[in-house]
Symmetry: C2
Subunit: 414 residues, 2 copies
């Protein structure tokens, strides 16, 4: 993960820089703003307050004078504000939705100003458990207040207001990001013109709760977790046999690396379809043509090696406490429960809504998308639904960009 210099955002919103197609035109900056300060902290759903809250965000494309061409992107569980472009020309990887954001892309930066902020509780700049608690001068750790998707959305909305935007031209998100879109429509039904919910649901299924629970347990079980107070531990200490990330203290990379990697490995299986990993890896071996008959060889099959790689990559960029808080927020999300019914939650929305699911997504199956669409239609709202063919399972909204582009472009142009 590259760490660009943060641009403090004082008076003038930075959403005035164009975003293009050439590498030079796709250089972006992270911006930072302090919200909920001046004695007006955020009142959280769990009853506690939090403030000030630093929010880190990026923009792609130019906000027009009427401030009515903004599309807000809500990222998924382990995403961040870096949705497109590069910080420097030689960055190895661009933002996570780079193919989807740009001139003529699904989110067309010639027409729209696309905004993406790291979520509350995250670990890429926005206030979260690894941030310094002003009351103690130390990282919050597990003293960070419990947070919900509703709280995350309130912070997003405050950022949008800060940028001078009254009504969003578009609001889009996949998975946990889609939950934020739904929650946003329920909180302020008239604040969005077009909403797009991808590979998501109005609540997390029992199976989803189960997988989150075992992931968290992997973190709790790691002796380096130390009840969440691991930030002052030198990561070069090579915890649990992992190689050091070389990152500085109080940054993602320290702490329960082994447990967090295992949590990621478990979750990663659920993001892929059975058919895609069968095709991509099958039973092929990683480093040999022959079986080793060695119990302790942990990366003998390619699928094992792949999962280990994913786990290691993840712990270099993500904070274990953030993983705990955000998966729990996901577990808690239940739009029907918090509003009486799903219809009640959504019936006041004036947005046009597009809901899309993926054929091989077994974590957020199509039935859950249909439930959202049914509620919208029964309330007389505008709702379009599409089940997209894809081999990539839940991750398809991050991978299968061409068909998503076609769908979203048609929806926004309609």
């Amino acid at each position: 993960m590259e760490s660009p210099t943060l641009q403090p955002d004082r008076n003038v919103p930075p959403a005035t820089v164009p975003f293009g197609s050439t590498p030079e035109e796709r250089i972006v900056q992270r911006h930072s703003v302090e919200l909920f300060g001046n004695g007006k902290p955020l009142e959280l759903a769990g009853g506690r307050t939090l403030g000030p809250i630093t929010v880190v965000y990026e923009t792609y494309g130019q906000l027009n004078e009427a401030c009515d061409n903004a599309i807000y992107v809500c990222h998924a569980l382990t995403g961040d504000s870096h949705a497109a472009g590069r910080y420097q020309l030689d960055d190895r990887k661009p933002g996570w939705w780079d193919d989807f954001i740009g001139p003529g892309c699904g989110l067309d930066t010639d027409r729209y100003c696309v905004i993406c902020a790291n979520v509350l509780g995250g670990c890429q700049g926005t206030t979260g458990p690894s941030s310094i608690d002003p009351q103690t001068g130390k990282p919050f750790g597990l003293n960070f207040p419990f947070l919900t998707v509703a709280d995350i959305v309130k912070v997003h909305r405050e950022l949008v207001a800060h940028l001078g935007i009254e009504k969003l031209a578009g609001l889009v998100g996949g998975s946990l990001g889609g939950m934020q879109v739904l929650e946003w429509m329920a909180q302020t039904p008239e604040s969005v013109r077009n909403a797009i919910v991808l590979a998501s649901a109005a609540n997390l299924s029992a199976q989803g709760i189960a997988f989150n629970a075992v992931g968290r347990r992997a973190i709790y079980a790691d002796p380096k977790f130390r009840n969440g107070e691991y930030y002052d531990v030198d990561p070069t200490d090579s915890p649990s046999g992992e190689t050091s990330s070389g990152q500085v203290l109080n940054k993602p990379g320290s702490g329960p690396r082994f447990g967090l990697a295992l949590a990621r490995m478990i979750a990663h299986i659920t993001y892929l379809s059975e058919s895609s990993i069968e095709k991509k890896f099958g039973r092929r071996l990683q480093d040999s043509d022959e079986l080793a008959f060695d119990l302790m060889r942990e990366t003998e099959f390619q699928i094992e090696s792949y999962l280990h790689y994913q786990g290691k990559q993840f712990v270099d960029r993500f904070d274990a406490n953030s993983y705990l808080y955000l998966t729990k927020a996901m577990d808690y999300f239940d739009l029907a429960e918090s509003h009486g019914s799903l219809r009640k939650a959504l019936e006041r929305t004036t947005a046009r809504v597009l809901v899309a699911s993926y054929t091989t997504d077994w974590l957020f199956p199509t039935s859950q998308s249909r439930e959202i669409v049914s509620s919208l239609l029964s309330a007389g709202c505008h709702a379009s639904f599409c089940e997209l063919e894809s081999a990539y399972g839940h991750d398809a909204f991050l991978i299968d960009i061409p068909q998503l582009t076609e769908l979203v472009r048609a929806f926004l142009n309609e």
Copy 2:
């Protein structure tokens, strides 16, 4: 887990006791036999030898004089030899397939003598990693030789020969048990009259390997694992915050309880269908009507509490090292790879074969059962196939007994 006195099996096979319907008629005993002794050790697929090997088994019903009415049951990953009946009248639970074995049942003990043995590498009496290594006088631990499904089957076959049985009337197994049935048919094609393969496959899928890998990693990561040498540790030491099982040393219950429980929790999710846990637990809370907004409450949702319970129960009866060895054997199983092709592996079988899958089993999907049937049919073998409707996912073969009884009874009577 009740621990009955073992009945050493010297000369006379014990398969002469009837098995009935009343509680008194369903009292069973575990028997023990030593095989591969006298300098004739088992040659394992991995190249090492092992012997003597203790095999613990049970029988239900009487073997006839011709010894041609035996049905051999191959248990699944975490099963054992206790397939039916009780050791004592007041045992809390009967054997794991109790409803399926008895007079007039799917496996009819009025007609057949049903035999079930704990697998090689297991932890319920048959020689495994927790057994004493005669060379050192200490438990094998990770010095136990690598084993495969082929090795497991060779031990089963030796037991069958020891009991004086030349040809089995029936051979049946689900999941890893079904893999043993397939391997058995490949090893000795004429040794079985009727073979039944339930919820199984000719090899483990990439997704299956992935879930086994994360389960093993949970065990490796537990500091109490100690590279498999945990047998001499006092289990009352309350490892990883778990309550003690009170079991004696060198028995399941000591060692990496936290890691093994987590491995079981992960695996357990894969044994259930999405719809069954949605129906059974949904998003219901365990001990309250209201959300706690407490990050560290690990059993807030019923599904979480259920998984924790399953994990705790499991570590009281299973050995972590056995879990490592047996999941790895499962990963390695690939009948096509070891015989050139699936057809070559199965074409010499003279058995009538019944293959059944379950509609909601996503760990061993129907497509894998169809593959077996296609190979058998293309080789001109007798094969019947049935995809059974069930809500219970992979575990259906252990739960949905009435329809399985109907199917198996019809197949055996045909």
